[in-house]
Symmetry: C2
Subunit: 243 residues, 2 copies
Amino acid sequence: MNKTLQTLWQETRESDSVRQRLYQVLRQSIIRMVLEPGQALSEKELADAFSVSRQPVREAFIRLSEAGLVEVRPQRGTYVVRISRQAVLEARFLREAVEVAIARAAAEKGLAPPVLRELNELIERQRGCIEPADHDRFYLLDEAFHRTMALEVGNTMAWRVIEDVKAQLDRVRYLSIPDSTPIAKLTDQHQAVVTAIAARQPEQAAQAMAIHQREILLSLPELERRFPTMFEASTVSATLAEA
Amino acid sequence: MNKTLQTLWQETRESDSVRQRLYQVLRQSIIRMVLEPGQALSEKELADAFSVSRQPVREAFIRLSEAGLVEVRPQRGTYVVRISRQAVLEARFLREAVEVAIARAAAEKGLAPPVLRELNELIERQRGCIEPADHDRFYLLDEAFHRTMALEVGNTMAWRVIEDVKAQLDRVRYLSIPDSTPIAKLTDQHQAVVTAIAARQPEQAAQAMAIHQREILLSLPELERRFPTMFEASTVSATLAEA
DNA sequence: CTAGACTAACTACCATACTAGTTGTATCAG
DNA sequence: CTGATACAACTAGTATGGTAGTTAGTCTAG
């Protein structure tokens, strides 16, 4: 069993339930490609590795399968799902729909000055990741940026949805490091969104967020070529449908 | 234990896992107010009632808690969550965001003639529920309408999100029967959406769907007055925030 | 009569045991 | 050597037992 899993396990809060801790560890491991797409996961093996029983492992599997990160095949096994072009496109569509609505709502209702200050501060810190490039830190700051916006519009439910679909997208993003969209460009896009919100221009905010959400589309086909084993075998019809 | 639960249990497919069957039964029961907001649910009691073990009941509880329909308080108990104004508003926001995006995408990409025919047929059957008013049948046809649109735009993920948030909204809808928005009006709104999609007018389709999604807002305050026990005690600050 | 401590009856969580179903392999018949 | 079959080693799903924590009620000390 992988060493990194043990490390992540140690980092989880002991006050949480075993199920939650396992879920977090496995989720992170899948996103970070520690557990590779297609890999089989064993309830028993993981239970032994973490010195817990099979039951919480199983419950974590169920949760992961609902998030679309693993597939549980009854009496057969549980597998890390391969990246699917269809799933990525669906996740991106969904995330755009929700985040654009959030940006528009934020511009309509307006955000309190302290919140705007917090967002701008996050953007500043993101600029600090440009040179030298620090993708890990930017990832965290980027997540914080989107989370802050979602929650400040008063919507925990929306953030949970975003968090779920983000997992699909982050796996792709992780693959595309370091030749992904430059951090500077993404940060500028964040800035554009906040500026439009501060200026109370809903359509402009929505537009800026939509542009931001479409960045990921660019690298997908190339990644599928470079990492064929990570992807679900795409049928010809599926390929044509997207053309 | 309630008689209706047993009936629903009989109707579930025996090929599904006990966990899934329990989830469906409990979900429906909560939406239909068979299990009332605030009511305590007992693992053991339900397990005995359905002649299954506590484990699948527990797993169904976990899934329900993720859908925001029950609250699991460790070592304390599991309770049907009361309707919360905040949760309803969040669910509505989220649903509007996703469904509007779907309507827009459908108008942009266009739908195949058979699909348009199917949607129009559903609308026709919905008209059949107007006089005499058949809310139960309309509910199913309405769900079918939205599901068809979501899936036809090629998005199973989006439909799953809608399905989840719909649970929150359907509970309110169930309360507001029979003095809810007239079926005729809702059907007309469906028609407007399909017409705009068929005419390939994205903005018009988005607008029509947005109007449709805002219907529910109207009845909420009155329902909160009429059924105080069904709702979460709303604090003064929360009330003010929504004003 | 009141306040605090103890107790009994719950709860969810985790561990373990058992069942039924799938799969790969080895063995045996042709 | 090939093909089918039986078996062994897995799997997830379900059942049951044990543990720690919460709660409400009662009983006792003041």
